[in-house]
Symmetry: C2
DNA sequence: AGCTTTGCTATCAAATATGTAGCAAAAATT
DNA sequence: AATTTTTGCTACATATTTGATAGCAAAGCT
């Protein structure tokens, strides 16, 4: 599948509304996990495979290409790393970590 | 596929870390879009189908079941609506809207 | 020069999503 | 009260995505 781009048809919006393009990008298996792991620091392909537990190389490679095309990650001497934009995105995503914990609690108590 | 639950194996974490369970849930096609639309107010199945443009009934139905099991949405007299938890989640997601716009700009200028 | 690690591709199988049709139940209309 | 319309889905076939496994070429040690 093509990398979703704002302004082009994406899942959720034929006119490619930015938020829907972003949801299309983030809403693919592993994408958010990869961003999450890369925030800790640059990482190689093989290390990402370990961190992401059961991700297949096929899928990881696709995700890395999409994120690169989207200017959220880039390659450095140390492997893949988040760009400035990527870091900003992570920081918006990071409150989800705390929320998820309380969600997990409610979950078990219901 | 089963609804991801914290504490159970999910994509990204065999022990079901809450954040990974959340990413597994949100990172399925249309999930974030559905939450986004429902924040505006309760909506019926058919209206969600319209809002989400090309979502298939099969997929919509699956997503609605997952979100219900996850206590993020519930049914009311007016149709599906976000729960309190669902609204909280949306509010964490909402900054993405603004970010996506600047992302879209950078995108076109590169 | 040989051994390892890294980044990936190829291939095939399994899981998901899509498209279209249509039906039963509830609601609105006549 | 009978008829039409709307709603919420299910069935089924097809297309697309993801996953598992094997393995190879290039780079980096030793």
């Amino acid at each position: 599948m093509a990398t979703p781009k704002p302004g082009k048809p994406v899942r959720g919006s034929k006119t490619g509304q930015p938020i829907m393009a972003l949801f299309d990008l983030l809403g693919r298996s592993w994408t958010m996990g990869v961003i999450w792991h890369l925030y800790k620091g640059p990482s190689t392909f093989r290390k990402l495979q370990e961190y992401c537990e059961s991700i297949s190389p096929t899928t990881l490679n696709k995700r890395l290409k999409e994120l690169t095309e989207s200017h959220l990650i880039e390659r450095s001497i140390d492997g893949y790393m988040l760009t400035q934009q990527g870091r900003e995105l992570f920081e918006l995503l990071s409150p989800l970590g705390k929320w998820a914990k309380t969600w997990a609690n409610n979950y078990t108590s219901k």
